[in-house]
């Protein structure tokens, strides 16, 4: 797990930030989803935090350091939002394991901070019994207390503290009010680290036995919560008029779906228009710095490896960063404002018909930028079969790496003429058709999967609709930082390796003059070896080489074809390359190539992420084979139709 040892972010913190036996106290932050847990975590730790994965699972581990008075420091771990510790979902399993000290690389916490949304106290306190059963010193944080009072709710926190045998503070994590109370508590834990004497609580007498049937156990827990809440004189807040009015709009029979569509379009549009200047800038920086390196370094194999291999290869992935950041900025705003839950509810009926569920909407939308973050986004899908089906079909969404390939071939083969009226040209129609092809393949595959490999009883989709809130810029910024780091690390590492392998294949066997012509190189020979297989599609070894190199990232085929055909600095707008392609490929083959790229999983980053997210090679292998087969068949059919 090399990711676990990566350096901490921000500041010049040189010490490795792991919760070890360094003598620092470790406090775990627990709470149900939408309780403001992450906002509080960010308030307390700021930039002194890092993200990694728990060993063997896909749950993110957030550990941060809280600076207290003077040099005092406490480690804080932000656990996933859960409703209980039944270990039904991965999140719950990890939370349970961390709290019981059964996770490698992180010791059992000395104390707990349980955060709940005070406006929904009865609902949120369902966690209190399992948390108190751990018998650790606990601080109960009544978050959103300002909102509770503003809406006419009340609670006697002293009575609550007495009844539960824990400390209680009120906060508003969003405004920062009351967060000092949490710091004070952490300082007390710091004063007595490891002094985590098990706390015997009167509550232990009331706790529901684990041997009880499920429903009874929950009913007992519920009765306890009711008692606690009554004793603490909890008066629930009045309904939030704003939330109700917004729901009336966003879930309106007519306006709801319309707003949903508009949101999707805006996200979609922004990925492609706003990101372009930034991507051009990154492209310029990569190319010019590569040129500078090439001019500065002596002409050796090392320069070639660095500039042509690593620089160009890693650059071809880094260029997608702006799109991914913009996508995540939008998704973050939608998520934190509470709209995403409504969007998932609106999408659910549609998704359910094809065998997916509402939560699949988010990863599928993300897939239009890049399948890698999209597959990671599917973690929120609580049903394992639904999650697998979703990430299996996500790469069918037309990711932005396909666009340069589409642009080159369409520009070369499709005349720039109007099709229906002056607005829809033939080129746009073909591009739209390719997007449509991806959607059809995704829907068909999901449908198929849920009737074969992932067949299951229809699951019950359940979505909590949190109150609408203004997103915190701080939380958004920190998340963007996280996302970009994860993307660069995941994609960068694999692309780095692939770039070196591809470069090496172009360098051997050596000739007297150094590197061989591409036709004679190992890579060229691989192209010739697979030529018989792709001949029925009308592709020769040159396209074959492009298909191999495009495994690094789909758009790499454009540069490869440029190199093979000897067109300097070829990009998708290169007229010279378009002319050569028109000469070398038939219309049928060109369309075949487009179809192939629409379907085939030409992306090692996706395969690597799939392996991680499914903890094995079975799913990525199946996915790669299936999509390759579909791509090949599709191309074959296209060649026969268009000649």
């Amino acid at each position: 797990m090399d990711e676990q040892h990566s350096a901490p972010r921000g500041e010049a913190d040189s010490a490795v930030l792991v919760a070890d036996d360094s003598g620092r106290a470790l406090v775990a932050l627990v709470g149900p989803p939408n309780s403001g847990k992450t906002t509080l975590f960010n308030r307390l730790t700021g930039l002194r935090q890092k993200v990694a994965n728990y060993p063997g699972v896909t749950v993110e581990k957030h550990i941060g350091r809280v600076k207290l008075e003077g040099e005092e420091v406490v480690d804080l771990v932000d656990l996933p939002g859960v409703h209980g510790f039944s270990a039904r979902t991965i999140d719950e399993r990890v939370t349970k394991d961390v709290l019981e000290g059964r996770v490698e690389g992180i010791r059992a916490p000395d104390a707990l901070v349980l955060i709940v949304d005070a406006t929904r106290l009865e609902n949120q306190l369902m966690l209190v019994e399992p948390v108190l059963e751990l018998e650790l010193p606990t601080l109960l944080v009544l978050n959103m207390s300002d909102e509770l009072e503003a809406r006419g709710g009340r609670i006697d926190d002293r009575a609550l503290a007495e009844r539960l045998g824990v400390d209680v503070v009120r906060t508003s994590a969003r405004t920062g009010e009351g967060v000092d109370g949490v710091r004070t508590y952490l300082a007390e834990v710091r004063a007595a680290p490891g002094g985590a004497e098990r706390v015997e609580r009167t509550l232990a007498n009331v706790k529901s036995g684990t041997s009880l049937p499920v429903v009874d156990a929950f009913a007992a827990r519920r009765r306890l919560v009711r008692e606690v809440v009554d004793e603490a004189g909890f008066v629930p807040p009045g309904p939030s008029a704003l939330s109700e009015r917004l729901d009336g709009l966003f879930l309106h029979r007519f306006w709801g779906p319309l707003i949903f569509l508009a949101v999707v379009l805006v996200v979609f549009q922004s990925i492609f228009t706003w990101a372009v200047p930034l991507m051009d800038m990154i492209d310029y920086l990569i190319v010019s710095s590569g040129d500078w390196l090439a001019a500065t370094l002596p002409d050796t194999w090392f320069r070639s490896l660095l500039v042509d291999g690593v620089w160009a290869g890693v650059g071809s992935v880094v260029i997608f960063l702006p799109q991914i950041l913009i996508l995540f900025l939008f998704l973050g705003v939608l998520e934190d404002s509470g709209y995403m839950a409504r969007a998932a509810v609106i999408a659910d009926r549609m998704m359910y018909r094809v065998g997916l569920q509402g939560r699949a909407f988010l990863p599928l939308l993300s897939g239009y930028a890049c399948a890698v973050p999209a597959i990671l986004a599917a973690r929120t899908i609580d049903d394992e079969r639904d999650r697998l089906a979703t990430i299996f079909v996500t790469p069918f969404m037309t990711c932005s790496a396909r666009l340069p390939v589409y642009a080159l071939l369409i520009a070369a083969f499709v005349p720039d003429q109007p099709l229906v009226g002056p607005l829809v040209g033939q080129r746009a129609a073909v591009l739209l058709g390719l997007y449509g092809l991806g959607i059809v393949a995704a829907v068909g595959t999901a449908f198929l999967l849920k009737r074969t490999l992932l067949r299951a009883q229809p699951t019950s989709f359940l979505m909590e609709l949190p109150p609408y809130r203004v997103p915190s810029p701080r939380t958004l910024a920190l998340r963007l930082l996280d996302r970009s780091k994860i993307f660069l690390r995941r994609a960068g590492r694999i692309i780095f390796a692939v770039a070196i392998v591809l470069w090496t294949l172009t360098q051997f066997p050596r000739t007297d003059l150094g590197a061989p012509d591409i036709e004679e190189s190992a890579l060229g020979r691989i192209g010739q070896v697979i030529e018989p297989a792709i001949e029925p599609l009308g592709f020769d070894w040159r396209v074959g080489v492009g298909l191999v190199t495009s495994l690094a990232a789909r758009e790499v085929i454009v540069g490869t074809l440029g190199t093979i055909y000897g067109v300097e600095t070829a990009d998708e707008e290169s007229v010279a390359l378009q002319e050569i392609l028109r000469r070398d490929l038939t219309l049928g083959s060109a369309i075949g190539l487009l179809v192939f790229f629409a379907f085939a999983l030409q992306c090692v980053s996706t395969v690597a992420v799939m392996r991680r997210e499914t903890a094995g090679w079975k799913w990525p292998a199946l996915q790669f084979g299936y999509m390759l087969l579909l791509g090949y068949t599709g191309a074959f059919v296209a060649v026969r139709i268009f000649g």
């Binding site: 409703h83 929904r120 369902m126």
Partner: protein, 97 residues
């Protein structure tokens, strides 16, 4: 909208017939039982949807699925799930003491 059956104390069979899916908007009812396998019932239980709790459909999604209010939280369900939740009217609760 079909009229709701009047629930009598002495007719527990007909009580079981009433499902959450049949309840009109803004009519608060009491949950009696959850007619779902344990693994599907558990997420409901964790969110406070338990036998004995008060539950109230507050809105329908554009697709016709219910959004219910439980303990001050809003939950979106599929109507298939709502049809597996047996409920009874609160008025009969009072009679039953």
């Amino acid at each position: 909208m079909q009229s709701l059956p009047v629930v009598e104390n002495s007719a527990p069979e007909s009580v079981r017939e009433l499902r959450l899916g049949d309840i009109p908007l803004r009519q608060e009812v009491e949950l009696i039982s959850i007619d779902l396998p344990a693994d599907q019932a558990e997420p409901l239980l964790e969110r406070g949807v338990l036998p004995g709790c008060r539950i109230c459909p507050v809105r329908a999604t554009p697709g016709g699925d219910p959004i219910v209010s439980v303990d001050g939280s809003l939950l979106a369900l599929r109507r298939e799930t709502a049809d597996c939740l047996c409920v009874r009217m609160l008025s009969s609760l009072k009679d039953a003491g």
